[in-house]
């Protein structure tokens, strides 16, 4: 399969803080990828790197098997559509903005009308074509910015936090658009989100980003600290793992691997903590519990289990999980 992107040994620091540290990352063409992580995890920086508006301090990045050393040529630039978290439209009408993109990409003027019409239709913004860019609402602005990014028919669409600050109605529209766009032949979509479930719902694959590093683990129960002799110390609690890595500073524990009980369990599980239940929340078909054991643990259980355990806020509960449930990275 064609690789849309290949990153090797990427390191990027800003004001002496490491923002990205990615030994290797491959993004296959034709995929819809969700880029997940907390605020400040480096999602925007990675997207800017993929859009080639930011440069890494070290490392190599290839776009469709072509190594990019400095700036993109016209064909390469035309392959990428990028929509910023807070998109900026130039003064003028919506149509002016789309036309400018086509002009800057060097696309023949006779194709402009058709391409503009297509992009506006795809993003359901045809009625906004003549509106001045500074009169658009937040949701309209995002959709127009997406229209502008796809008007020259790029192969890769990069969206930074496309769902933030949108109401439910706009979110549904945007999800449908992303699914439609990604289903076209050989179109790659990479979007960032801090909403884990949204990412999983519409993406083929997920990239988790924690403190500038990619990880395969889900993003709940991520702790920072140091590992020595299988014991990970967060500064507040100590967690047993099976890892022999020494350079690692993060762990993640799958919330479905954690067993919650009203009494301490006698078992083979190496990790056992007691804490106060501080949050019970509905999450899709499951119930998410947050337990303060020094660090906040998130646990996913079924609604039936919630009834059986007779849990309430403030109650002391016990958490147990195997050391193999701990992912070190």
């Amino acid at each position: 399969m064609t690789k849309a992107y290949q990153l090797n040994n990427i390191k990027l620091s800003y004001q002496h803080v490491v923002r990205l540290d990615i030994p290797a990352l491959t993004i296959l063409a034709g995929q819809c990828i969700a880029l997940l992580g907390e605020n400040g995890a480096g999602k925007s920086t990675l997207l800017k790197l993929l859009a080639f508006t930011a440069q890494a301090d070290e490392g190599m990045i290839s776009l469709f098997d072509q190594q990019i050393n400095s700036s993109l040529n016209t064909q390469q630039r035309q392959k990428i559509g990028f929509v910023d978290q807070h998109p900026y439209l130039l003064p003028g009408s919506v149509e002016d903005n789309l036309k400018l993109a086509l002009k800057l990409q060097g696309i023949a003027a006779k194709k402009h009308q058709l391409l503009i019409k297509q992009a506006l239709t795809q993003t359901k913004t045809a009625h906004l074509a003549d509106k001045a860019s500074n009169t658009l609402s937040g949701g309209e602005l995002k959709r127009v910015a997406i229209a502008r990014a796809i008007v020259y028919q790029p192969d890769v669409l990069l969206l930074d936090e496309p769902f933030s600050h949108l109401d439910q109605h706009h979110i549904q529209h945007l999800e449908a658009f992303i699914i439609d766009f990604a289903q076209q032949a050989n179109k790659t979509v990479i979007f960032s989100s801090h909403d884990r479930l949204q990412g999983v719902a519409i993406a083929d694959d997920v990239i988790n980003l924690v403190a500038g590093k990619t990880t395969a683990s889900p993003l709940l129960n991520v702790f920072h600290g140091s590992l020595s002799q299988h014991i990970f110390n967060t500064g507040k609690i100590q967690i047993n793992s099976t890892s022999t890595l020494t350079e690692s500073h993060h762990i993640a524990i799958d919330p479905r691997e954690i067993i919650i009980s009203a009494h301490a369990l006698q078992s083979s599980m190496r990790n056992s903590f007691s804490g106060r239940l501080i949050l019970i929340a509905e999450e899709e078909e499951s119930v998410r519990l947050t337990v303060d054991c020094g660090e906040n643990f998130h646990v996913l259980i079924s609604p039936e289990s919630l009834n059986n355990l007779e849990l309430s806020i403030g109650k002391t509960v016990y958490l147990s999980f195997k050391s193999t449930a701990v992912t070190v990275f």
Binding site: A51, T53, Y88, K103, L104
Partner: protein
Amino acid sequence: MNYFIDSLTAAAELIVSFDAEIYQLVLTSVVISITAAIIAASIAIPAGVTMALNSFHGKAFIQHLLNTLMAMPTVVIGLLLYGLLSRQGPLGHWELLYTPTAIIMAEAILIFPIMMNLAITAVHSADPRLVPTLITLGAKPFSLMINVIRTTRLAMLAAIITGFGRAIGEVGAAMMLGGNIEGFTRTMTTAIALETSKGEFEFGLALGLLLLIIAFALNFILSWLNLRHD
């Protein structure tokens, strides 16, 4: 006090009676200043935008140099150009001394750093997302510069008007390089200096009033532009 009020009345009469000599001076001043502003702007604005958009070695030095040149006394520019253009000077064979061209050169040099600095400021105060947006949409260095200028055009226009205002009010270099030749290189400011020293206070005052009116009009246009900008 009567003397001042009488002079003011006489000056106003000169203005409203469209005194030919006065309007000849206004025309000379305006033509010289506009030409200088256009020449300076056509280099200073692209240079300022290019400098703001790129980082390179010596950028800080150029910025310091521009700030220094902004404060350079106009007589110093007059002096340097005089040395270059006078008959014994290296450019003496151009025979430009005591011509409007010499004044235009001096004014253009004088307002260049002001315009370039204002152009740099205009780019820096534009939306920080403007340049990355244009780059992701495919802008090359030249189209990037053109589109940045287009987007910040009101601030660029303000830079040109500020430069023009500085040029039309300038007296030192105009005097030294123009030679204050009547009907040729005599500008409003050099005429004021001359007429006042001759004791023709009303005439000088009339010109002074016109200069004030021009300055007022320019400031009015500037604040109107700023209003539209916001």
